[in-house]
Amino acid sequence: MIDIIGKRYWWFALSLLVIIPGIVAMVYSTVQIGSPLRLGIDFTGGTRLLLPFERGRPVGEEQIRQVFVAQGIPAGNVAVQRVGRSEENTFQVRTVFLTPEKDKQIRADLQEKLGLTEAGASGEIVDPIIGKEVAERAAVAVALASLGILAYISFAFRQVPGSVRYGTCAVVALVHDVFVVTGVFSILGLLFDVEVDALFLTALLTVIGFSVHDTIVVFDRVRENMKKYVGEPFVRVVNHSIIQTLDRSINTTLTVLLTLTALFLFGGVTIRTFVGVLLLGIFSGTYSSIFNASPLLVVWEYGEIGAFFRRLGGQRQPT
């Protein structure tokens, strides 16, 4: 039988290998740019341009976006929308704050390549769509939801000794997934200017939902096996439960990841960050259920919590 629990500190180390750089990046990012993630125009505001093109000349959203991208603006920060009737051939672009030179350059490019009419193009500063307080409130909502999950799991597992542990470990796995996603996107923000938009928030909520769902499925098996194999060492029961649910974990995650990969590769550019967060988060959610939440139960059962950091990397098998 595969011994997953035995290598538990390796799995924890692997998680920390992602999470610690992520936290460092978030701290560094907060010092450097004032927020742990590089915020997109939904959060920062920017410029709103109204661009009328020559009538009858076919212009596409993607063509317009490319002109902005060529000037070094990330694609995720160029929201292009058609306005008015289609024969008006007018588009609205919400993008970052533009310096007068860049503004001039972009207009010149749009005129040359796509036939922007000189008259009528106007630009104005706009405020953020999502206020800072919304993001902060969402964080409070997630904290409340975690408490709700903790309470429910503790209740649902009340027949198992130490049921609060199951709830706590599920919430730890949830926090793990939030840190993996935000950490990685903080790093991507610093290295590749990847920005988060309003949809990032929704994607993160989806990841949280999946994470808890996945953890409970594994825990449910532990609960069942505890009754079935009375007298077996806890560590063996947990390991056996993980192995039994492994097929299911892999298949479920695979189906979700397949759908998301299709969306990531062939979907529109405006939802790429959104799908990217889901891909990473769902993978992390499955990983944390198998390799963090369940081994953590064992760590707790054998009183290893106190020695957690000392044994980092060690592989002592509890007797």
């Binding site: 709103r48 596409g60 959203e61 993607e62 929201a79 929308q81 058609r82 306005v83 008015g84 009737r85 609205q92 104005e124 500063i125 706009v126 405020d127 953020p128 769509i129 999502i130 307080e133 919304v134 409130r137 969402a138 909502a141 939801a145 709700g148 429910y152 799991i153 649902a156 949809l199 928030l201 929704t202 994607a203 989806t206 949280i208 939902g209 999946f210 808890v212 769902h213 409970i216 499925v217 449910d220 299911r248 298949n251 479920t252 695979l254 189906t255 979700v256 397949l258 759908t259 998301l260 299709a262 969306l263 062939f266 979907g267 529109g268 550019v269 405006t270 939802i271 959104f274 889901l278």
Partner: protein, 495 residues
Amino acid sequence: MQQRNVNLLIGIIVMALMAIWVNLPDNPGIHVDFAGIKYDREIKVHEGLDLQGGLQVLLEADAAALPDKKVDPSTMETVKGIIENRVNGLGVTEPLVQLQGANRSRIIVELPGIKDPDEAIRMFGKTGLLEFVDSGSTFLPRGTRITTDHGSTVPVTPTATTTSSATVTPAVTETQALTTTAPVTSTAPLTPTTKVYHTIMTGSEIKDAGVGLDRLQRPAVTFSLKGDGPKKFADFTTKNVGRYLAIVLDGEVVSCPVINQPITDGSGIIEGGEQGFGLDEAKSLAVVLKYGSLPVPLIQKETRTVGPTLGQESVQKSIIAGAIGLLIVVLFMLIYYRLPGLLADLALGIYALLVFALFKLIPVTLTLPGIAGFILSIGMAVDANILIFERMKEEMRSGKTLGAAIEAGFARAWTSIRDSNFSTLITCGILYWFGANFGASIVRGFAFTLAIGVLVSMFTAITVTRTFLRFTQQSWFPRPLEQEQKRLRWLFGLS
């Protein structure tokens, strides 16, 4: 068991057919007019700004109407908040409200699914200054424009502004009412605008407002007062029984009822005069009263339609990509789980039909966050089936017969499906409550669709799949036992 199963199958088929009818792109809606029951209902897909676009209205603060002719950014923050509340109060899902301009004097409002710009402005763009005006013994017909002594937004003569209503005591109200009524009676109908009426109090004293019915069972606006409101209202109505009280919105009379008896409980009703209110009219007035008046009047600058915020091209590409993704899942289930996989795919099809029908019926406005909730619930529906099938395989490997393995698979998988879905529902509840109460409608939409998806998936992944599976137990073509066992093992993916 057999008969019950047949009944279930029939029930499932009927539900699926009903869902298909609801999902027809040109569904005629429900229009019943039978035996005194009248019911009209359109059934259509509502799509959000991000997927479909909508109407964009650009409004500008009318600085000229302010005392110092200047709009400061913090006032506009207030305006933004009020507009957001009003639009949300009218049931528009996930609107976009954004301040624009160097001094933020303009405000962009984008609304999904609204075709008529004038209707939009009527709904949320009015200043919303409500005044309870002492009109003495004069009846003012609905629609009359009048001037009052309340001096913040309505331009008034310098002499009138000196008597501000904010600090008026009941005693003063009475004397004013007495001194002004007598001469007005004869002149008011001829030159109504020259007269400066006295404002007893404004809408700022309104605590809550809603839609109720008047004596003729027509829509009307009910309200309750806060602060000094109940006392002012009680004092005035006690001393002026038999006289008129004009209710004025943005300088225009809405209704002018006679005070029949003193109103002392701090609540009242606004009726729409002779012709009454339409339901939409009453609703929008209630919303305006509930969220207060704008500190500065707004002027409508431009109105135009806008495409989806995610971009038309991007949305189209994503729909195709989503379809490819779903197709992969369907094929995966079919190849890996064979017969049960095929049945799960069928159940998944029914699941999609039911959820989409519910979205149309409730109705739910579809946005990308909403679709994210939907996708997650599809994942959970597939997961429930995978859990059951893996369990069935285990039971069959341990030597159980097919029938016993099916029942055991469902029974054993049930606890994990129950607990995982229930915790998801708890999360949905908290997120929905939070999104609705703390102005994060993006969170609310997600939570709502996810909750619907989870509930429906519990039904389809369990009841529907099980009903289908039970039919596979019987052998349609009798074969020797050994061959039959082999066939079943292959169909259920064991060999």
